[in-house]
């Protein structure tokens, strides 16, 4: 279990985080939950590395963070995709799909 989490590549984590944020702003814990849910618990996010990843995206200008109120009215830091982030997500997704498609092709032939 632990091993699997570490295998999640950095770029992949960034991509997943941004994909999650594409549906709307939310906070860190929620991002972790959603990635797990959506991937039917196959991908388990190392929750510890989620925050540095979010900060990296923030520094790159792809997400911005703001303090807001959570569902049960607690102070939480909400992350939101910037237009630049959205553009980057589209590009990265396309690239990812190309690579994944190619790998699939190779695997199907073998």
């Amino acid at each position: 279990m632990r091993k699997q989490k570490d295998d999640l590549l950095q770029g992949t984590l960034d991509l997943l985080v941004m994909k999650t944020l594409a549906t709307g702003p939310t906070h860190g814990w929620d991002i972790a939950q959603r990635i797990q849910q959506v991937s039917q618990n196959v991908l388990s996010v190392n929750q510890g590395s989620l925050y540095p990843a979010l900060h990296r995206l923030e520094l790159k200008g792809w997400v911005i963070a703001e303090w807001g109120a959570s569902e049960n009215n607690r102070r939480a830091r909400f992350y939101k995709l910037t237009p630049a982030g959205r553009k980057h997500l589209v590009a990265e997704t396309a690239a990812w799909e190309r690579v994944a498609g190619a790998i699939q092709l190779v695997l199907a032939q073998g």
């Binding site: 906070h27 860190g28 814990w29 972790a32 939950q33 190392n46 929750q47 510890g48 590395s49 925050y51 540095p52 990843a53 900060h55 990296r56 520094l59 790159k60 200008g61 792809w62 997400v63 911005i64 959570s70 607690r74 102070r75 939480a76 830091r77 910037t82 237009p83 630049a84 982030g85 553009k87």
Partner: protein, 879 residues
Amino acid sequence: MILANLARQIRAFYQRRSLDETLDEELRFHLELETEKNIRRGHSPAEAARQARVSLGGMVKIKEEYREVELVQWWLDAWQDLRYASRVLWRSRSFTIIAILMLALGIGANTAIFSVLLTVLIQPLPYRDADRIVWLSNRNTALGVSGAFLNPADILDFREQSHSFERIAAWGTLPQNLYGARTPERVEGVYVTANFFRTLGVQPQLGRDFSEANEPDNSVIISHGLWLRQFGGDSDVVGKEISLGLPAGQDVLKIIGVLPAETNFPMRVDLFTMAEINRAEVDRGGSHNWRTIARLKPGVTIAQAQAEVDGLARRQEELYPDTNKGWQVQLQPLRLYLFGNSRAALLLLVGAVAMVLMIAWANVTNLQLGRAYARRREFALRLALGARRARLIRPFLFENLLLSILGGSAGVIIAVFCLSAVRTLGPDSVPRLKDASLNVPVLLFAFALSLLSGVVLGLAPAFQASAMAINDALKHNHTPATSSRPSNRFRRTLVVVQVALAVILTTGAGLVVKSFWRLQAVDPGLKADGLLTAGLSLSFADYPNGSPKRAQLFQRAIDRLSTLPGVTSVGAISHLPLGGRTMKLPFKIAGQPNASPSNESVADYRVVSPSYFKAAGISLKRGRMFDESDHRGAPQVFVVNEAFARTFLSGIEPVGVRLDGDAEFVRGEIIGVVANVRHQGVEFDADPAFYVSYEQSPTFPIMNFVVRTETNPSSLIVPVRRELEALDPRGVVFNVRPFDDFIADAVATRRFNLWLFTAFGLLAVLLAAAGIHAMMSFAVLQRKREIGIRIALGAQKHAVVRLILAEATRLVGLGLLIGFCLSLALTQWMKSILFAVGTTDPLTYVTMGGLVISIALLACWIPARRATTINPIRTLRAE
């Protein structure tokens, strides 16, 4: 506007500091939610919290990673920004070259001047604990004397009674003929007290110092330069004997030491003989003829020593009122005494180059602001896309840092040229000036200045970019019809500042130029054109005091020189005007009440050939000049200068007045009055002087011949030297050079100031003009639409030009006004380097103001003309 931005930047900085707290809070929130989730799954609260912590991982590790992300990102961004900056600079090459050139001029000039400042003023003197050496001088307010040398009796008193000093040493100058080495040479000599080198803190490089007890009278220490020149750097030189051509008994000297190369005291001195001051021989009322230095005891301040010496001087006044009344002693650091004169000029130059650099900064900033304006949409877009402001600012900083480093590097090259110019053009009168070079501290200075430039230049555009309102720039995708944005106000301010600085520098330069003109116009009192001088120094032993042989030989020299082709007349004088030496003798006016010994009359004493006044072109004002009747044995007669007549004989007919005095050779009758000749320097009024014919004086064994020629005096240097050398085997010929050279030397420092201040003034005007040109070109570009509309509505060309020039005139006028006000305040500091020009000389101000205005308006004219060529249709359609 800028302040508000600054505040925002500072807030952002402190917000960064609280990043840790933010992360803590965020992680706490995460743990709470995770724990709640675990509880919902049926875990006990404690277990739920534990599992939450496990799934999150170590807090320390997260924080580490967090910081690592920041660091990595910083370097990535920095690298990207640097590449971006170099790409941008490469794309706009013409801007880059102009900016680098401006910065190079500014940084280069500053680096060169810093190097000079460091070498001349800051570097310690080449003596041990040099800051403990003080220079002592005499002052007598009642007599109007200051900076005088000390009386030997007073020196002995201070030595015996003071406790502030380790040693007090004194010396006097005495040029000598040197025989017994390679070639006879006339050398600069000094006689020093035995403790001189210990006071100075210098050890001979070879041999030994004078012993402070029982040093033989004939011991001599020579300079490193003389050692190389006359003894070939031979290490056996210690113990060798040299001759000065003096009468037996004082003639032969024994070399006991050689000084190290860097000891060049106080100027170029080659021969140090010893002369002790003995109580038995000193005359309290005698002359103030000893130059005096002292070494302070460790821990004693100059103020404490001054207080002690003041007390001693007061006691002397009480004990010896006849001789010491009113005399005070002033202490100052030796360095200040040696370099004090160059200090004011150097500090002014530092100020001037600093202003040049500021103008360069203003220029590049102005250009950068223009470029930032052109790129505003790009920035607005990036801001809108979520780029953080810090990321937007950094490329500017990098770009300007890159520019500044490149400018600084080019500046170092410029500094190299400046320094080599300083070495060739610089005056010899500024000590150590020619040692100025590009060493490590100077290079560090240039580098620091480059970094500073980068920061200064980066500030304004960075603030502007960060202050940009996104909507503003994006929505108004056309240029505004008029130019009233705050950034323009800032750029206009820059232009005003530039003009003001240029005005300050040019008025300063103007004052220096006018001083030099005034100096050139000074009548030295003799006709310098076509005059060649040559010195002949005889051996005292061969031509003893009182011997008629001296005058006979000098007469023979004059006769032989007169026969040279191209020579019209020849004269001789003991102390050449501007030659750097003088001799003052006390005298009385017969029939006038005796002055007390402490304020007896003194005047310059000159021995001349009867032909001197004619050859030198000095005009007779009253009476007659010397002639053949004034021979040896005839009644003693004198010719005095006008200063003498005015000072001592005001209201009396000078011709016929008798002079009297203790010495026999000052007793005689005045037969004529001649015009003043400036002797000490072109800028100093002539002192009272009396002349005597060498037939009637125990003449000096040294004469300076003045040869009036019909041709270029330089062409006679070789034959004149040959004739004089042929006269006597032990006669040393020296200083064979046109008299113009002496005048050039006398004004060399001022000429150097003239070059520097003029260069910096011109540079300032040109840089400012470039800045105004850039500003106005940009303004025209910005107002294209407005101008287009005006032209479309039928505005005439001259109206458009007037529109543009009106704004420029306002800015230049304001700059001029501010510049004048600052000049009036700042030129006060120039007093000491000006000559015969007031610091508020109206003509200079008007001329220089006019110059700045003309150049500035010329710089505006070009963009104004361009404005008239705007095609309204194309301009308006482009919107």
